[in-house]
């Protein structure tokens, strides 16, 4: 497997007067194996868009180097899928053909579906616009496809359709894909790997199966914490009354009978990693149904 996007020690200062001394990204390495879909997630302003912007050359790093394929090999759809509103769908395709060395009109048309080429971009639905933007990006037959919050403006049905088009296109182009999103449940279905970006650094990275298999929630009576067999690291701990809940990364089966061991869902796992460590624990809700949740 070859890495398609590597950022090593990349620093990018925040733009704007208030953030002059802060860094949007620091010391970051993200490998995107070819042919896989990586969900890049993290809280607001954690650096997701900055990383994609750097990769596609819209931004310049303030320090460090970023190895990415040349821009001609990257398909990029910015947040809100910017398009020329006065153009027709057909003219948008002409635009992309004119500005790209490699252009696959047949693929772009196929991804667009049965939409009329005479339709004005301004009269497209949000779903139609996203689909057109995606078709433009994939029509370049990119090696790497970067999508910035592709589902943010879409309802669930349109989002589902777009992901279907995405998977069709990826199957045909064999591109490596990075999808930046705040809401990982939207794209969980199509992701091979998840990378969690917090404060400009990768906090967690792996396949969905790995991540779920390596993390457990332990619940038991409150006690001083020592070494627990099978636990590699305690990620988070929360006290509520006499109870103690731990989110742990495991390196083996946990056999200690004084802990009740539960699996954790992907969304809860990511939210737990995103939560600041010193955050006071919220009171657990009274109606804990089914799966134990980290966040009430």
């Amino acid at each position: 497997m070859t890495a398609a996007l590597e950022a090593h020690g990349v620093g990018k200062r925040r733009v704007g007067k208030r953030h002059r001394r802060e860094w949007a990204l620091r010391d970051l390495t993200l490998d995107v194996p070819e042919g896989s879909v990586v969900g890049l997630t993290g809280p607001n302003s954690s650096g997701k868009s900055t990383l994609l912007g750097l990769a596609v050359g819209l931004l310049q790093p303030d320090e460090g180097t970023l190895h990415a394929p040349p821009v001609s090999d990257i398909g990029y759809v910015a947040q809100d899928a910017p398009l020329y509103r006065s153009f027709t769908v057909g003219e948008m395709l002409d635009f992309a053909r004119e500005l790209n060395v490699r252009w696959d009109q047949r693929l772009a048309l196929e991804l667009l579906g049965s939409r009329s080429l005479e339709t004005k971009v301004s009269s497209l639905s949000p779903g139609g616009r996203s689909r057109l933007a995606l078709a433009l990006a994939l029509g370049k037959r990119p090696k790497l496809l970067l999508l910035d919050e592709p589902l943010a403006a879409l309802d669930r049905l349109a989002g589902r359709e777009l992901l279907q088009v995405l998977m069709d296109g990826v199957a045909q182009t064999e591109a490596a894909v990075v999808i930046a999103t705040r809401v990982v449940t939207d794209i969980e279905r199509v992701c091979d790997r998840i990378a969690l970006l917090c404060d400009g650094a990768i906090r967690l990275e792996g396949t969905v199966e790995e991540l779920l298999a390596n993390h457990r929630l332990l619940t038991g009576a409150r006690r001083p914490l020592g070494r627990i067999r099978g636990v590699e690291e305690i990620v988070r701990e929360r006290h509520s009354g006499r109870m103690l809940t731990l989110l742990v990364r495991t390196d083996g089966p946990i056999v200690d009978p004084t802990w009740s061991v539960d699996e954790i869902g992907l969304e809860d796992l990511l939210l737990a990693y995103m939560a600041p460590e010193e955050l006071p624990a919220p009171q657990p809700p009274s109606d804990l149904r089914g799966r134990l949740r980290w966040h009430g």
Partner: protein, 314 residues
């Protein structure tokens, strides 16, 4: 790139073409009677060094009859400035709509993207402005034969400088669009900068492109030929000191009281008029120099935009 540029700037380019056509039509319609009168009264025979009698009256009559055309013609200097309306949205609109994220992530580098678009639009605008400059030259020809064309009223709207002004206005618009990222702000800033440079260069630099000629005139002798561009006209005494208007008035009053001709009296005092002027035959030299200046300024603006474009966080 050509198709993309055409498609994105179609309205402005069509408007520019329409404007040029409308101006040409208006010029032909209004100028036919002027050319007609010029030939009917055989004004060409009145041009220096001719000594045809009665010419003063003929020329004065011709001037006053068509004065309104010359007056309207002065406003033609605004036309090339309109090119900034083409230049300003080039980048500003992409920023306003966020579409720079689309345009600059295709296979063409943003540097090449900006350069091709600016040069393509520049070529179109320069052609349009060159037509305007040439038509204006033909339109004003009868007046220019009588009054020369090196004075600002005609110099500013004729010949080589018109396309140069337009190119500069376009480049300024592009640069302002990159700096301000809003079309309206870019247009305002570019318009201010354009007017400031035009006025600054016209009043401070143009009189000195070549060293002006000097002439001392005694009494009421005629000033240089009418086609020249008079820069200064001051009264000095025998040793070259400047005579204030108050002193001149006093002297004239004195002469009137004594019933002597005022001009003769001034001459008898040893006072002369010192005149500096640019002769009419330097027109094309000055046009070439001014064109060079504005083309250089335009190129500098584009170069600045290219440098900024690379640094500017998007």
């Amino acid at each position: 790139m050509a198709w993309v540029t055409w498609r994105q700037h179609r309205p402005q380019l069509l408007a520019a073409a329409g404007l040029v056509l409308a101006f040409a039509a208006a010029a032909v319609a209004t100028s036919l009677p002027v050319h007609d009168a010029y030939h009917r009264q055989a004004l060409s025979s009145c041009l220096p060094p001719s000594t045809r009698p009665g010419c003063d009256l003929l020329v004065a009559h011709f001037r006053s009859e068509f004065a309104w055309i010359a007056r309207v013609g002065r406003y033609l200097f605004l036309l090339p400035g309109l090119a900034l309306l083409v230049g300003a949205p080039l980048l500003a609109r992409e920023f306003e709509h966020g579409t720079f994220r689309l345009a600059w992530t295709q296979g063409v580098s943003r540097r090449r993207w900006l350069l091709s678009k600016t040069l393509l639009l520049g070529a179109a605008i320069v052609v349009a402005a060159a037509i305007v400059g040439a038509v204006a030259m033909w339109w004003r020809a009868p007046f220019d034969h009588v009054d020369g064309r090196i004075r600002p009223a005609s110099f500013d709207v004729e010949g080589l400088v018109v396309p140069a002004y337009a190119f500069y206005a376009l480049a300024l618009g592009v640069l302002a669009g990159l700096v301000f990222r809003r079309t309206l702000a870019a247009i305002s800033a570019a318009a201010l900068a354009f007017v400031a440079t035009r006025i600054g260069i016209e009043t401070l630099l143009r009189p000195h492109y070549l060293a002006p000629l000097h002439r001392a005139v005694i009494g009421s002798a005629p000033v240089p030929r009418t086609g020249d561009w008079l820069l200064t006209d001051t009264l000095v005494d025998g040793v070259g000191r400047r005579i204030t208007t108050a002193r001149e008035d006093l002297a004239v009053l004195h002469a009137q009281h004594a019933n002597i001709d005022a001009q003769q009296y001034l001459a008898s005092l040893g006072w002369r008029r010192l005149i500096t002027f640019q002769p009419a035959d330097r027109f094309w030299t000055f046009q070439a120099i001014e064109m060079g200046i504005f083309v250089t300024l335009g190129v500098l603006a584009i170069a600045a935009a290219l440098v900024l474009l690379r640094r500017r966080p998007a």
